[in-house]
């Protein structure tokens, strides 16, 4: 698999560390109810198809990335900097 880092360009998958569903970006507020935290930490849609997940270009530029990807075909549909996505989110 190859991922196009917005900073470094297209790189082999081995340069990246994976952390899972991009839901990790949406950390609940400190006073959110337990269900919110349970959902954040544990529950996943885990789709067989298009998903957004978080990758870290650990052996490259050290940027955290949001990768839009198909879990059935491994096709990579888009890559963005997590910090930008987060910027849009707030």
């Amino acid at each position: 698999m190859r991922i196009t880092c917005p900073i470094c360009g297209e790189r082999d998958r081995r340069e990246f560390y994976y952390v899972g569903d991009a839901v990790a970006l949406e950390r609940p507020d400190a006073d959110a109810p337990p269900e919110a935290w349970h959902g954040y930490i544990h529950l996943r849609d885990n789709p067989c198809g298009v998903t957004r997940d978080l990758w870290y270009h650990e052996q490259g530029c050290a940027a955290w990335l949001v990768v839009t990807r198909n879990t059935a075909t491994h096709e990579v549909l888009g890559v963005a900097l997590a910090s930008d996505e987060k910027g849009e989110a707030r």
Binding site: M1, R2, D12, R13, Y17, V19, A24, L25, R27, P28, A30, A32, P34, W37, I41, L54, Y56, E58, A62, A63, W64, T73, H74, E75, V76, L81, A82, S83, K86, G87, R90
Partner: protein, 976 residues
């Protein structure tokens, strides 16, 4: 035997080699198979299950029968295809899976018992008596099974891995591949063309076909010459593309030519990772056998292989050859044989309407029903419309039609499409993104169609690459129609082989269907059809045709099993090169490494780092002696140890404090510049991730210390928190671990040692416990931290790494007169256990702040990573196992890390387990063993007695539960 002819081999020089110890001669350009055939050797192997004699059947990597072993010891390679093995001086090949010899094999008895060894027989027996399975049945089966053998010696194959990048990868250098490469190359694209064979040309090397009015192989040579001359083209021969992976990544195995591999330092094989924006699959097709009784006799071969041996290697597989086919290739074979002067005893064409212009005995509408001659074909029986006949032949060339090489297109779970007109599967377009099939691989069988197909495929790729294809004229070549009437198996009573390697016959497949293994996957798994080294290349389509017939379904409906990588087997050594010995992981060495080794310190792995275990003094013969001495040395004088391996992260910016408050359970925004604080870090799931001291160097600058093991993990975590949770914060962080050599100086005389070294001495007034700041050593700017992991007055002195070795030498030299010296990990561990300081033995990923008695550190005043999850009811409370100190108080005086704890008198079984010991050591300071461990509701049980049981070493000890801090509880010595 060798015959005359125009084959390139004709001019080859003589080469000596041996097979099973017998000396033979071949010619340069021979494969082992062609050379053995030339020498009249017919039996080259034994089959897997029935140990039947087998001869060579093909001329390529798909060869199922002629598998041999070459080399000895670390160079012993089993299961090499004689059809691929290039003959070279001194080649010594051995046959396999036979005992005592290839011609006389005891286990051939299995063949007689075949009625009882049908598909899946072992699922139905060998069950009684139970104990016999491991002791009798299984060893018996294992000995009989298997093909070649490993020597047991470590692999000495020189191999390498490499990367290549290109615009277009062309897989296969036959007519289609060469035209595709030429078209793309002339358009200026970076092209890699890879072919399994030693020379480009594909089938052209094996046929008498002409291209552009010259012999096909000469045309291929011309095109190859042009390609090789272009610097945007890489022609890779002896290179098999083994797998198609995501993102246009392909695996390929290159076998270097024997003469190159023989050079000192040269690799034997190279495993390539090829990254291609587009690819053309021009891998041709594999001819398929026809199933009839005893079709596995030595001498029964594929017609295309026979043409290859005759035309390319000038070898006739027999004095008289019969040809059996269901398509036009049979006739081409006869023509080539006649032209080469080989006697053809019959042309048997299963097609009733077939006609023949050649001067040979011709049997239209006939089929071969049996083959005779156990160790070499003597005759075949045929069924003609007018009855049965026997025909003499030393070789039967059979052609059941061709299967396009769709394999790579299935590597991403793609399924091929069935084409009734050619009775074969063809690649499904788009099965591998960016890859298009061309030529025979796509079902276009005439040479002309291949040449056109190659150009068309290249055009498609060039368009996708945004390049314009040049005008290119298609060379003239035969454009005959491929005409086939499928036959999968000839009716009859004997065993007709489908999978030659795994000894799977038509009967086995029918039995599988009878027992309800009707899904093609079930049939495969039940009969082992297609699971041998050729991965069913020779047999899958025939087998599923038989299954389709047995289950009354169409072939398309029956479906296929999935071809998986690799296309041809690849050695573990080739894909795993770099993993051998020390190469498996990088070695991180501290600046004091050489000096420590020179002092005889055993170096032990700590993550990727190496750290000294202990420093043996003269007369010390056991590590405990050194360890005890080093511990007392630190307690009574001064010790020096390298702590550079701990992670150091420089955190700067206006929001540095905010970041630390979020990642640490406790608060750092309140820390004063010039001060150090212990920090506890949680994972978001509420468990402890790591701990360490963090210093505030300035208003907006902190220096975080992590444990050695978690340094990378913490760095990643900090970047996550910043980039993914609070990108709005203005903070920057960078690892400075490698920039500094840092040494702990611990013990009552640490200040004395330090002040003898610093350019300006430090006084306690300015340097209280947990303070830090800049100092100077020999004019070198350094950093000093007054912290302690030993419980004694201690400092950590950090200098730029280039001075590390010199500083360590100085520190040790100056410590010794004070009764001090260096100490290692063993002593460091004892010291911290005495003090109840935790390491990853305690914070092993399952412990919470509550468990280790630091629940109070989780600030109520602020949010932090892991705070919410830590509040879950299950993460605190009396049911939790809590950190305690332990000391043996019974007759047995030792403690064992990993031993479990039970109430006195309780049986040592799971339900009674109250906890376990995480760390234990003999404390020379206190004169007895000490332990740290986790005990259910342990903090409430100080003073109670528990029983430690280690079943493995048979140690049982009564211990008293204590506070984890078992030495200098008030910390007076540390604060000084």
């Amino acid at each position: 035997m060798r015959i005359g002819g125009e084959g390139p081999i004709g001019r080859g020089r003589r080469i000596g080699f041996t097979f099973d110890g017998r000396a033979y001669q071949g010619l340069a350009g021979d494969t082992l198979a062609s050379a053995l055939l030339a020498n009249g050797v017919r039996v080259m192997g034994r089959s897997f299950k029935y140990h039947r004699p087998r001869g060579v059947m093909t001329a390529g990597s798909e060869e199922p029968n002629a598998l041999v072993t070459v080399g000895r010891g670390g160079l012993q390679e089993p299961n090499l295809r004689a059809t691929q093995l290039e003959l070279h001086e001194g080649l010594a090949a051995r046959s396999q899976n036979r005992w005592p010899s290839l011609t006389f094999d005891i286990l051939a008895l299995n063949d007689l018992a075949s009625p009882f060894f049908g598909a899946g027989f072992y699922y139905k027996t060998f069950m009684w008596p139970r104990a016999f399975w491991e002791r009798v049945y299984e060893p018996m089966i294992r000995r009989a099974a298997g093909l070649g053998a490993l020597s047991g010696a470590p692999s000495d194959l020189r191999v390498e891995k490499a990367w290549a990048h290109c615009d277009l990868l062309v897989i296969g250098a036959g007519p289609a591949g060469l035209m595709a490469a030429l078209t793309a190359a002339r358009a200026g694209a970076d092209v890699i063309i890879a072919d399994e064979d030693t020379r480009p040309g594909g089938r052209l090397n094996a046929e008498t076909i002409e291209v552009d009015g010259v012999p096909g192989r000469d045309w291929a040579a011309e095109i190859t010459a042009e390609l090789s001359g272009m610097d945007n083209v890489r022609v890779m021969t002896r290179t098999t593309v083994t797998g198609a992976y995501d993102g246009g990544t392909y695996g390929a195995l290159e076998r270097l030519a024997p003469e190159v591999a023989a050079r000192p330092g040269a690799p034997r094989e190279c495993f390539w990772r090829i990254v291609a924006r587009r690819a053309v699959l021009a891998a041709g097709a594999l001819e398929r056998p026809i199933a009839f009784a005893n079709n596995d006799r030595p001498g029964v071969m594929m017609a295309g292989a026979v043409r290859a041996y005759v035309n390319r290697w000038c070898v006739s597989p027999g004095r008289s050859v019969a040809v059996f086919g269901n398509n036009s290739d049979a006739h081409r074979t006869v023509a080539d044989l006649l032209a080469a002067g080989v006697h053809v005893s019959a042309l048997i064409d299963a097609r009733h309407d077939a006609t023949c212009s050649l001067d040979v005995p011709f049997y239209p509408g006939a089929q071969v029903s049996n083959a005779h001659g156990r160790c070499g074909l003597e005759a075949v029986s045929i069924l003609t419309p007018s009855g049965e006949e026997k025909i003499e032949a030393e070789c039967l060339a059979m052609s059941g039609g061709w299967n396009p090489s769709v394999h790579l297109t299935c590597h991403m779970n793609g399924r091929p499409d069935w084409r009734e007109d050619i009775a074969a599967f063809v690649p499904r377009p788009g099965a591998v993104p960016g890859l298009v099939a061309a030529g025979v691989a796509r079902g276009d069988f005439s040479t002309r169609a291949c040449l056109q197909g190659g150009v068309a495929a290249a055009r498609e790729a060039l368009t996708a690459l945004g390049r314009t294809a040049p005008e290119i004229d298609i060379p003239g070549a035969e454009d005959s129609r491929y005409d086939i009437t499928p036959i999968w198996s000839v009716p009859g009573r004997g065993r007709a082989w489908l999978d030659f390697q795994n000894d799977v016959t038509v009967k086995d497949v029918r039995l599988a269907a009878q027992e309800n293994f009707r899904s093609v996957e079930h049939m495969k798994r039940y009969t082992t059809q297609g699971m041998a080294p050729d991965q069913g290349k020779n047999s899958n389509v025939n087998a599923l045709a038989v299954l389709a017939d047995a289950t009354g379904r169409a072939i398309a409906e029956t479906g296929t099993t999935t071809f998986r990588p690799p296309y041809v087997p690849v050695s573990i050594a080739a894909m795993g090169v770099g993993g051998r010995g020390k190469g498996f992981a990088p070695q991180r060495l501290t600046t004091s490494h050489e000096l420590s080794v020179a002092r005889g310190a055993p170096m032990i792995e700590a993550g990727l780092w190496y750290r000294p275990s202990y420093f043996p003094a003269p007369g010390e013969s056991h590590w405990r002696q050194s360890c005890d001495r080093e511990v007392l040395m630190v307690r009574n004088a001064v010790g020096v140890t390298d702590v550079s391996t701990l992670g150091k992260i420089d955190i700067q910016g206006p929001d540095a404090a905010a970041l630390l408050d979020l990642v640490y359970a406790n608060t750092f925004s309140t820390l004063k510049p010039g001060r150090v604080r212990y920090g506890l870090m949680l994972r978001e799931d509420g468990h402890v991730m790591d701990d360490g001291t963090t210093a505030r160097l300035g208003e907006n600058q902190y220096l975080m210390t992590t444990t050695t093991a978690a340094a990378g993990l913490v760095m990643r975590h900090l970047e996550f928190v910043h980039q993914c949770l609070r990108p709005d914060w203005d903070v920057r962080m960078v690892s400075v671990t490698e920039n500094w050599a840092q040494f702990a100086i611990a013990g009552p005389k640490s200040a004395e040692l330090l002040n003898g070294l610093l350019d300006a001495p430090v006084a306690d007034a300015d340097w209280p416990f947990m303070s830090c700041g800049p100092v100077s050593v020999g004019g070198v700017g350094a950093r000093l931290f007054r912290i302690s992991f030993s419980g004694e007055r201690g400092y950590e002195l950090a200098v730029p790494a280039r001075y590390g070795e010199a500083l360590f030498r100085e520190l040790v030299a100056r410590a010794e007169p004070l009764g001090g010296g260096p100490y290692g990990m063993e002593a460091l561990n004892v010291l911290r256990i005495e003090k109840g300081f935790i390491t990853h033995a305690e914070i092993h990923g399952r412990t919470t702040a509550f468990d280790i008695g630091m629940g109070g550190m989780v600030s109520k005043a602020k949010d932090c990573i892991g705070k919410a999850a830590a509040a879950r009811p299950g993460l605190s409370g009396e049911e939790r196992e809590q950190l305690v100190g332990l000391k043996p108080v019974g007759t047995v005086k030792m403690l064992v890390p990993g031993a479990h704890l039970f109430e006195e008198g309780a049986e040592a079984v799971s339900d009674n387990s109250q906890g376990y010991i995480t760390s234990a050591a003999f404390s020379p300071t206190l004169g007895h063993f000490l332990g740290l461990g986790f005990l259910r509701n342990g903090r409430a049980r100080h003073g109670q007695r528990v029983r430690m049981v280690d079943h493995l070493k048979g140690v049982v000890a009564i211990c008293e539960v204590q506070d984890p801090v078992q030495y200098d509880r008030d910390g007076g010595r540390m604060r000084g």
